[in-house]
Amino acid sequence: MRKISNEAFNELYYQYKPMIYNIAYTYVHNVHDADDIVQEVFLKYLKSTEEFAGKNNEKYWLIRVTINTAKSFVTSSWRKKVILDEETIDKQKNNDSDSNDDLFEIIYSLPRKYKEVIVLYYYEDLMIAEIASILSISQSACKKRLERARNLIRAREVKNG
């Protein structure tokens, strides 16, 4: 178990919770599951004995664990499909989406590898080198994914009119 005070954990929690929540949300697309993932990631953090050489490494660790947890959750959450379906129906009833929603929907539906780079680059403002390190890919591969992700988004926007 990690040796950390309640106060220090509070500080860390408020610093990284938005980031973890945002990444998780792009995978699960609903607040309940995204919140569950936030809790799960922080519990993993508390349980882990991993030591970090620097604050950035701690952040990258949290991002990696978030991505993994979210990926696992996406499928185990099939059990909760009923809940998701109900949310979808509610959203359709409200019909109050704007262009932000539309674009987010497209990003949400991207293949995993493209979604990851978009979220980390645009939402979390990480640099190419950082993303490459987190995802264990080369910088050129990261750039290529980013470019293809953008192309996919453009293509879908055209398709959706």
Binding site: Y25, V31, K47, V65, S99, A155
Partner: protein
């Protein structure tokens, strides 16, 4: 920043705000959980999420229980909590398949794997301009030298035991070069590539028809300077039959040949390999349908009257004009709609191929359905009567525990339902490679998978994982249970005890509540795994002998016939071996009597004790270990047969040469004898080329038919197989 990129950044605003916000609870919860590590929490996540604060804590505990721990039926928790840090970590889960929206999107997806687009491929053709049609051309099918134009239509009415292909799953047929339909034998010679249709009547056998395919050139365009031909070379592969049809698969290589009139130059281009299926009426042998599929065939299965064809397709890598996998039915081109193509964001990160599944429904009216999925390359498949399991090798996953980073190579299994429409239902991941279709097995809702692989371990030093690592081999058995949602959940595994250090898994066979697994480096540990309780698989016995088994063939509930290699004490293979194992006592498996060993000539046969030794300068062509379908298996009579070749150096000086001998050996099992594998036929002949041998033996009732490109020899089963008839082609 341009507007587009700004809009992407702003799309983050669509994320709905969080509803939970209490780090103190989390902190206390963690302390509470650690203090009560052995307590049992097994609450459902299906409860309402928005409850009072105290309930949130309880719910979270329940949620964590489901997240981190395999919950066993008795409520026990698996405490193997490991932090997963590799972002590419696959999971045991279901892919959410998404439709491809447009051609442009498809093009982007297919550009994965650092492919370079090559739209100008056609322009690279260094030849005069000649119009080239898009059709792959018409294969040269037709009767060559039909022996008897009078078709003798006999509906098989006899109920006597007849040969069946040695398949993995009962009721799921696999294509082969020989099939027996009542009194009819269909046989494709791999030497002559000719299909022979034979009718048997005990010792009599007659050829009623044969088919051959070859090379055909068709002029497709001509001008003053040049002539263009579409060349098609077709070779027969294997076949199936149903009550209505004989289905013959073939490989057709087509290419365009252009010859210039002035310079006599010849150019060839646009090579394309096509897997074809020629469907004949089972009574008249008239061609009723021809299907030319797209891509390279992974495998096929026949279940009832439904033929399942699984292909990988990546022709677009050569030519993006072939981005949509077109196929042909009776030479009519069919191109899929983009909207019928799916990809799965969670099934691997590299889309480098299509997997195309064709379902051919062979009723009076033949119906063809096609399904397209963008996935990584599929290596093999396993099929039951209602599910397809497509196997691919996947990237590595990493785990950290106690400051040790361990990376494993993995395999993924994409599960499809195919009873009605073909639809993906699950993705299962295991550590290691599933090297053989026999390593995966579904039994009463449990999916059992054997795998072998390598893992790297890095110890955390000064806050970093060093580049240097130690690697080792592992052998695992992983068991999944089908849940009420139709998904497989991992319930148990064996991760230790299968093989000693450095030993790789060579074979696995599941049979009901039993698995037998062979690992090898220097000796052959044959393991018995008791699967009576799938939640707690147990290795109950192991047998160490020299050599190792590659293919295990069950003989009733109590025995396994092992086909593999003999090896010396250093693990160097010295020949082929066939041995019988008694697995009736799960705590004490043993070898029965003397194995047969086909020894390479450099070994002194006399030095081998308790072995039936067959010596030659060199043995080769023991195909049963790589292709178990070649095995003659009549287990109700304890009879099996196989072909094996040997080579000897004969003569001296300038007249010396290699002499190749082909043997077809039939054995009968007598478990009560000291020598339980008795040879009842050993047919030898001098062979001149690789495929010039007795390829298969089949049986109809008590008569056995030995097939080669030149003849059919007929034997009657008595104490031995006695030659009673012959047909020369």
């Amino acid at each position: 920043m341009d507007k587009f990129k700004e809009r992407i950044k702003n799309s983050k605003k669509a994320i709905e705000p969080s509803q939970k916000n209490n780090p103190n609870q989390l902190y206390q919860l963690n302390k509470f959980k650690m203090a009560n590590k052995k307590s049992k929490f097994n609450l459902s996540l299906g409860l309402n999420f928005v409850l009072v604060t105290t309930l949130v804590i309880v719910l979270t505990i329940g949620g964590i229980g489901l997240f981190n721990n395999k919950v066993e039926p008795n409520g026990k928790e698996n405490q193997n909590n490991q932090s997963v840090i590799n972002p590419n970590t696959p999971t045991t889960n279901t892919g959410d398949f998404i439709k491809v929206n447009s051609l442009q999107e498809l093009k982007i997806l297919l550009s994965d794997g650092n492919l370079e687009f090559n739209d100008s491929f056609d322009e690279d053709l260094d030849s005069p301009e000649v119009e080239v049609p898009t059709s792959p051309g018409e294969p040269s099918y037709g009767i060559v030298g039909g022996v008897s134009p009078d078709i003798d239509v006999i509906i098989p009415s006899i109920k006597e035991e007849v040969y069946e292909t040695n398949t993995q799953v009962n009721g799921v047929d696999e294509a082969d070069i020989v099939k027996v339909n009542g009194k009819f034998i269909y046989y494709i010679s791999r030497k002559t590539k000719m299909l022979h249709i034979l009718k048997t009547n005990e010792e009599q056998v007659t050829e009623i028809k044969n088919y051959s395919f070859g090379k055909e050139e068709v002029v497709i365009s001509e001008n003053e300077e040049a002539i263009a031909y579409r060349v098609t070379e077709t070779t027969l592969n294997d076949m199936y039959y149903t009550d209505l049809y004989l289905i013959v698969s073939a490989d057709a290589e087509t290419y365009t040949k252009v010859t210039t009139k002035s310079q006599n130059g010849t150019y060839t281009s646009e090579y394309q390999n096509i897997s074809e299926y020629h469907i004949y009426d089972i009574n008249t042998y008239e061609l009723v349908k021809k299907i030319q599929t797209a891509g390279n065939n992974v495998s096929t299965r026949l279940v009832g009257n439904e033929l399942i064809i699984v292909n990988n397709y990546n022709d677009y890598k050569k030519n993006m004009n072939l981005m949509l996998p077109r196929y042909f039915v009776d030479d009519v081109m069919i191109e899929p709609l983009v909207s019928t193509i799916y990809y799965c964001p969670f099934f691997g990160s590299n889309i480098n191929s299509y997997v195309i599944i064709y379902k051919v429904i062979l009723n009076n009216k033949i119906e063809i359905k096609d399904y397209y999925f963008l996935t990584p390359y599929i290596r093999n498949l396993y099929a039951t009567k209602d599910k397809l399991y497509l196997i691919r090798y996947s990237g590595s996953i990493s785990e950290t525990k106690d400051n040790l980073l361990t990376s494993y190579n993995t395999s993924k299994v994409l599960v499809f339902d195919y009873e009605d429409e073909i639809k993906p239902v699950d993705v299962v991941t295991v550590k290691g490679r599933i090297n053989d279709k026999y390593w995966i097995d579904e039994y009463e809702g449990f999916l059992r998978i054997a795998s072998t692989g390598s893992k790297n371990e890095q110890k955390l030093l000064a806050g970093k994982y060093p580049y240097s690592s130690s690697s080792s081999i592992f052998n695992y058995l992983t068991i999944f249970k089908l849940d009420s949602d139709g998904k497989y959940q991992e319930i148990s595994s064996i991760t230790e005890g299968l093989g000693e250090i450095g030993e790789t898994m060579y074979s696995a066979r599941f049979n009901g509540n039993r698995a037998t697994v062979v690992t090898f480096k220097q000796t052959d540990p044959l393991y018995y795994i008791d699967l009576t309780d799938h939640y707690h698989p147990v290795i109950t016995s192991e047998l160490k002998i020299s050599g190792f088994t590659v293919y295990q063939h069950p003989y009733n509930e109590n025995y396994v016939i092992g086909f593999g290699y003999e090896a010396n004490s250093s693990g160097v293979t010295k020949g082929y071996k066939i041995a019988l194992f008694d697995v009736s006592d799960k705590y004490n498996i043993k070898q029965v009597g003397k194995p047969h060993v086909f020894i390479y000539g450099s070994i002194d046969a006399a030095s081998l004790i308790n072995v039936n030794a067959h010596t030659a300068d060199y043995y080769y062509g023991f195909e049963v270990i790589s292709n178990p379908k070649v095995l003659l298996s009549n287990m109700s009579k304890g009879i099996f047969g196989f072909s094996i070749n040997s080579r000897d150096y004969v003569g001296s000086g300038s007249s010396s040469k290699y002499r190749h001998t082909n043997r077809y050996i039939v054995m009968k099992i007598d478990v009560n004898s000291d020598d339980p594998l008795k040879i009842i036929l050993d047919e030898k002949h001098e062979a001149t080329s690789y495929h010039d041998y007795y390829e298969r033996m089949v049986f109809v009732g008590n008569y056995y038919y030995l097939l080669s490109s030149e003849s059919v020899k007929v034997y009657q089963l008595n104490n031995k197989l006695d030659l009673v008839g012959n047909l020369s082609f």
